[in-house]
């Protein structure tokens, strides 16, 4: 029987990261996952809310957690930044009845009880589905593709407590990469910060950080980068786009979402327009491997 999971796409998966949304929807059904979108979900508040107003930073995620609870669903947030906001909010609300009461006053008439489980994409692929099942479902192994797994900051850095994967040396994405038939390449930047949303306000910082990550991917002769975070994907891809003089990193490495590679390996082909959503067009790399 299919596992039902509450799906919180978040704002970016409906705009700049549409290809993440499309590839999750294309591939998850094959693995026995039924995604049920959280009805009328709202933005998690992101950096803006936790920077300016703590009450909002708790209440905005709490509204979604409460709606997922009403439907008896867990909450899967593909974007690492959304995921982290949900995880931290949930932990805080579950740790203090007083706080839960206060936040429930903010989201009334909704009334969150604290029972929603928050998941990221690797939790689902490794813990709910399992690499064995992924391996068995692969129709088109990604043989010959040397991939560096780029976890970024927010997937596993959970203060005061353990994340599902290791906090300093996570391995879940490499396990999935291996199950898809590709080659996970060890490298030193798997958890380096790309600069995240500073790309709009502090461009120079993001150029410095993201370029360093691409340098390291090049140094280990990776064929492509794979990630699960919308900000990570955007920054590494943008740095190589040539759309501005500063964005001229020569690596020319496609930056995939893990779900795009999953869908490919499971035998799905994307419509023509899909790969155009990447600044570094991955089709060259895929053609060489006979994957398109």
């Amino acid at each position: 029987m299919a596992i039902q999971i509450g799906y919180f796409p978040g704002c970016s998966l409906h705009s700049s990261a549409k290809e993440y949304n499309d590839s999750i929807k294309a591939s998850f059904g094959d693995l026995g996952i039924e995604l049920k979108e959280i009805p009328d979900w709202n933005c998690c508040g992101a950096t803006a809310a936790h920077s300016l107003n703590e009450a909002l930073a708790l209440a905005l995620p709490a509204r979604n957690l409460a709606m997922a609870e009403q439907e008896g669903l867990s909450l899967f947030a593909p974007c690492s930044a959304c995921y982290h906001r949900f995880l931290l909010t949930n932990r805080k609300l579950c740790a203090s009845e007083e706080l839960l009461l206060e936040v429930n006053e903010l989201i009334a008439p909704l009334d969150y009880k604290g029972s929603t489980e928050v998941k990221n994409i690797l939790d689902i692929l490794v813990e709910d589905v399992g690499v064995k099942k992924i391996k068995e479902s692969v129709k088109r192994p990604l043989k010959g593709l040397r991939l560096v797994s780029y976890y970024g900051c927010l997937l596993t850095r959970v203060p005061h407590g353990q994340a599902s994967d290791d906090q300093e040396n996570p391995v879940y994405m490499d396990m999935v990469v291996e199950a898809l038939g590709a080659e996970p390449v060890p490298w030193p930047s798997k958890m380096d910060c790309c600069g995240a949303s500073l790309n709009i306000t502090e461009e120079a910082i993001v150029c410095r950080l993201s370029s360093h990550i691409l340098d390291n991917a090049q140094a280990v002769t990776a064929g492509a980068v794979v990630t699960s975070c919308t900000l990570c994907q955007m920054n590494l891809d943008l740095m190589q786009s040539g759309t501005k003089p500063e964005y001229n990193h020569p690596a020319n490495l496609p930056v995939f979402y893990i779900s795009e590679l999953l869908a490919l390996a499971l035998g799905h082909d994307f419509p023509q327009g899909h790969w155009k959503k990447h600044f570094v067009d991955p089709r060259g790399v895929l053609e060489k491997l006979g994957l398109t």
């Binding site: 709202n42 803006a48 903010l106 850095r157 995240a196 950080l209």
Partner: protein, 192 residues
Amino acid sequence: MKPSERIQVSDGSVIDPGFTQKVIQLTGEEVMTCFQCLKCTNGCPLAPEMDVPPNKAIRYVQLGMRDAALAADSIWICATCYTCSVRCPNDIDIAHVMDTLRRLAYQSQGDDTPKAHIVHFHELFLDSLKQYGRVNETKLLARYELKEGRFLKDAKLGMKMFFMGKMSIFPEKVQNKEQIKKIFDRASKRKG
């Protein structure tokens, strides 16, 4: 000295033990246990750009140096990457402290910081969220560029993204906009 007593030091700055207590109370973090090992700052990806790196920010909090802590540019450029928080040997969630300093600074001085553009970006983001319940990236970017007087600087990028199908002009909305508005109204009545 009573814990609430403020003292003025020779450079004119004020030492306010009440500030230390306030940050401890707001964060629940045991900032007094910091022994300046510098592990946070050594791993901080933004340290090269910071005037007050995380270890120093914690020190300012310990010493009640409110003005120095809240005037720091670094509280605005901290990327909330949590590297410091997971590495601190005393388990201080430093990212949470930085975040709290940011909010205290915003409450007391608004956008009066050399990093005002970052404050503006956050404000516009929340504006959009309040209006629609979701954030339209295209509209947000356009409004930000206009506000900061750099419209057209990123036009080439914006157009490219539009043609790549990465940007949509029509904002998505939640159905229950009334509820989102209520959350904002209630949250704004509370302090930060």
